[in-house]
Assembly symmetry: D2
Homo-oligomer: 345 residues x 4
């Protein structure tokens, strides 16, 4: 049994990663790939590494009506483009995984963190937030899924067990995020040039990065109450990878690193894509994969908890998780197409 | 039907790549992994990215007798260690793929390009040179295979069609090679430190790199005559990847870039792991894969031919090709375990 | 008027940076350079970029008696080596700038954060903590100066104005540090290899990095009270550069980003090596220089302050600051030898 | 005595390097800096590392009449822009150093290697080719100097002693060039993005790079005859640095590596910016400097000579050499402003 899927935005980095993973997926077949900037070229011309796997697939211009006949579409569009076209898209195709940030927040919160108001607020309630480790059942029952942001995925997975069990205060949480350059996308900008980005780290989006309310909302569901974080992202000179380092005040007596590690082990027991360990994780451990690697510490000096998660921003932070969600939506094995062993060095 | 294989030298970069690829191989099962430096630790401790795929495999000390019961062993040892132990190894295990440089040259040539004479010259004739695109039949009939060097693989594939068809002079061939740092191995040296290697390129091994006679020998078989090259390798600041740029005097009138591209297309027609194209290949096209990407040009100004090949030094240049050889030796599909689509960005 | 100085540990990265900067210093002359690992080789052999500036300077074995006749010595030794030899050193040479961490903390604190007790506690009170922007007068009057740690320099400069003016709570301060690989030194270790460090970020020293008490002590002097921080360092794939991102609870009503920027501008007015600006600083802005680039924000959502500083770990974080200290100790202009314009791209 | 100079194209990488070096030049004062893309911003906003050195210098729009009153102008414009404006420029300012490729070739050769014919052929004979080590006297007597290309500088310095002394055949010379990304300039293109360039090497400009005729012309002057080269450039993932590896047939009996090294030592004796040595040079040796580091080998197997040169493409390959030329044109010491010791690690 095979499903026909489309990749909208196939000339971007997340689009390429979707195509790569889908090339090995046993039950999903790529029937359509679109691009704004490379219409008329083939997948193999734009992504030579993919040429042997898509010998004839052309990049076509995206039009919602062109999605007719697909079972599911992955939208890997620039921020703000999905919500303008969602009505037409959902008329054409029964299932959508949106990798953008358009359908992750309620309309009022969206409006407060973006320059323009949401164009399709009526659709927001129809989208499920696609973080399977926390909201698996909800995703399986939805046809529209908003794939989480890359930083948000890492931060939520790093902090969820603590908030679920009341181990930390829900406010005053500090999250520092580090991202490789593919997190900026493939658009042309001076900041993304090799010469500007290499041999440097740069903080950005101070106090106003839109993953902030996304993290707060998802953790609020977990904590069953309001959560407040101060999130600071930084660009670091690598292609892929996200690391978040989270600090929060302890909210319970008697915590220890041992007990916290045990808590995480049990919280994520059986999860195929989460590894909990004592050693601080490197992003290289997750390069190309759909895995999150997490550790946690209790600091008795500051009576605080330190939680750290590493993912690949294009894997668990984008394309990998999108396929995980699609698997759930289509009733496939959740790990389908995501089991290949990725680069160790 | 499954074969039991061993990886000797599993804590090095080629060893890790073997383990990675074997984790997805449908017919080979890793029954043994050895390491000199990490005995007693598990594969997952030394290579966290591999931990989910080898939850319990320990790294043991290499002893030939420990290979008993395996169907095939991959030797990923430092240069010069295989030939000292080959007698004991071949007593214990019926098939060997040696990724080192010990069994690629006749004893006299080996002696001329190495500091010490060969310790097991009687075994040299028993080894087949494992470049399947040129010597496939020979490999399939052998139990002992010498896996080609990384630079040698790229250079031989780049130049073979020209020499097979007498299109270039067999002497005066200039080969410039560029390699990522994993080509130096995982041994500790100041030159391999990030701070020394980043933001720099360094030529090395001037006039005396041991891949020189290996290239000449393999191309000599192809040309059915003596071949002479001047090979200069360089380290470039990347983890993986080899690019060779080869220049030779034309030996025929009437050459053109079009005719040469057609020659390469036909020479490599049907080869699953060689891509010929007009665009100059980047090493990134082959990152993590077993593929070689090749282009060729005729320069009428200099009446010369320019041939360029890109591979992953750990893939087609080491572990990928080793598995390709093992597949041939064991009668499996040649592409078995090597079909996954690797990173496009 | 010229002073004769020595560089002990000249084959390490801080030693090389000292030699580089001293080559252009108008009043300091390098009369001695020592190395444990490269005795008998010349500076130019070990550091080819320095060869034209030190055509004949040999690297000699370090012996305290060999320092006789120098006016000042820079000690760029591995952690823990200075305190064992300090008595003999101070007998031989009248002035010492120690770039290591041996003389920055009181004996009890040193003992609590290191594996072995301090070997020369009697000398600790004789050392001044060499952060000129905060303790300039104290440094000028001392002959023994402990050069601050790289992370500590950045963190203290980032937070000092806030604590001086009671703008933040002195506890619960979260500091995330990012460092290039030269911060690990030139010693051989697998973690420092290009292949391991490139394309990855790695947190380390969780909860126990020895710059923690150093930061707390210096900020405590500034705050005139106890200060507590939770510091988490990370390695990022670049050669040079440190960035610290500091978060703390506001301790005053009425803060704003504008008022905080004005506070920093006035706190560092006239400082030749501190730049305060609104734009988040990149480490590239300080590459090769003795400069710190700082910004600050007030977050009304979390009622918290965010302060960020970038330096070059080998410049203001080591060799540059050491020369700044030496200038103060010798009565030279503080900027002497530190005014060259460094790489912009 | 101070001269007023202008930098046209100050927001590009060569422009930034000119500003950096001029900030420390004792006799040249930057009176004007222009930019097409950043008009109205200050130097410090566009290049934060330069802010302390140019606290008030604005970037203005380039107009030839605006150059009036300057003693000399550096043109760091994109290829093809200088020749269209040269008449107006030379009316406004008495001396020009053009870092572009517009005035390096005779009109017919220019036309053959470029898409459009030369717009100001009458000016070509008025320009001197600014490679001081070979054509010093000619430069000193000219007011218009064409600064050599980066690859060309390295290749010509690497090969000149051989051709001057008839040691190699003047045809069949193979030159492989490796360049860091700043060689592509600061213009926006997908190929220059960090994600595309990191972890990859890419050959480009096969058979038709415009430095080819430039190298042939300069070496032809040296050889006093026609010279023919086959030049293949490659991009490597670093910010700065050029390495050329040159191979040529020996034209004399009795050559040896020792005799060739001696030849180079004597050819470049007294040259302040050329270092000849036995060890293969890394580009890191020249990072930020105006130096060329060269080695040479005789290969008796192939009866060929191998010559290798490393430079910084923005230093000796652009801005450094431009200042060296300006010094000659203005009667200043040739090393003026170029003596600072650059990064060793």
């Amino acid at each position: 049994m095979s499903f026909r899927v489309g990749v909208v935005g196939a000339s971007g980095y997340s689009g390429a990663e979707l195509l790569r993973l889908l090339a090995g997926h046993p039950a999903l077949e790529v029937a359509l790939a679109t691009s704004q900037s490379h219409v008329g070229r083939s997948v193999g011309e734009v992504w030579p590494a993919l040429a042997p796997y898509y010998p004839a697939l052309p990049l076509t211009r995206f039009e919602p009506v062109g999605l007719c006949g697909l079972d599911l579409v992955f939208l890997a569009l620039p921020h703000g483009e999905s919500h303008c076209a969602i009505a037409a898209i959902t008329e054409a195709v029964p299932r959508v995984v949106d990798l953008g940030s358009d359908f992750r927040l309620p309309a009022d919160v969206y409006g407060a963190w973006n320059e323009t108001p949401h164009a399709a607020p009526g659709y927001l309630a129809k989208f499920s937030y696609g973080l399977p480790e926390l909201f698996r059942d909800d995703i399986a029952g939805h046809d529209l899924v908003a794939n989480p942001g890359c930083y948000a995925t890492a931060a939520i997975l790093a902090l969820a067990p603590l908030l679920q069990h009341g181990a930390i205060e829900p406010t005053g949480i500090v999250i520092n995020g580090l991202s490789g350059l593919s997190g900026r996308g493939r658009g042309l900008s001076t900041e993304s040039l090799f010469v500007e980005a290499a041999e440097s780290v740069t903080p950005y989006g101070l106090l106003n990065h839109r993953h902030t309310p996304e993290i707060e909302q998802a953790l609020g569901r977990v904590a069953d109450g309001s959560v407040q974080v101060l999130f600071t992202p930084h660009l670091v000179p690598m292609k892929r990878g996200i690391l978040v380092t989270c600090t929060a005040k302890a909210a319970k007596p008697g915590l220890s690193t041992e007990s916290l590690l045990a808590l995480y082990q049990s919280s994520y027991a059986g999860e195929p894509f989460v590894s909990v360990g004592c050693q601080p994780p490197s992003t290289a451990w997750t390069y190309g994969s759909n895995r999150a690697a997490i550790t946690v510490r209790y600091d008795p000096r500051a009576d605080s908890v330190l939680a750290i998660a590493a993912i690949d921003n294009l894997g668990k932070g984008a394309a990998g998780q999108a396929i995980q969600n699609a698997n759930l939506m289509l009733g496939l094995a959740e790990t389908s197409g995501l089991t290949h062993c990725e680069l160790a060095a």
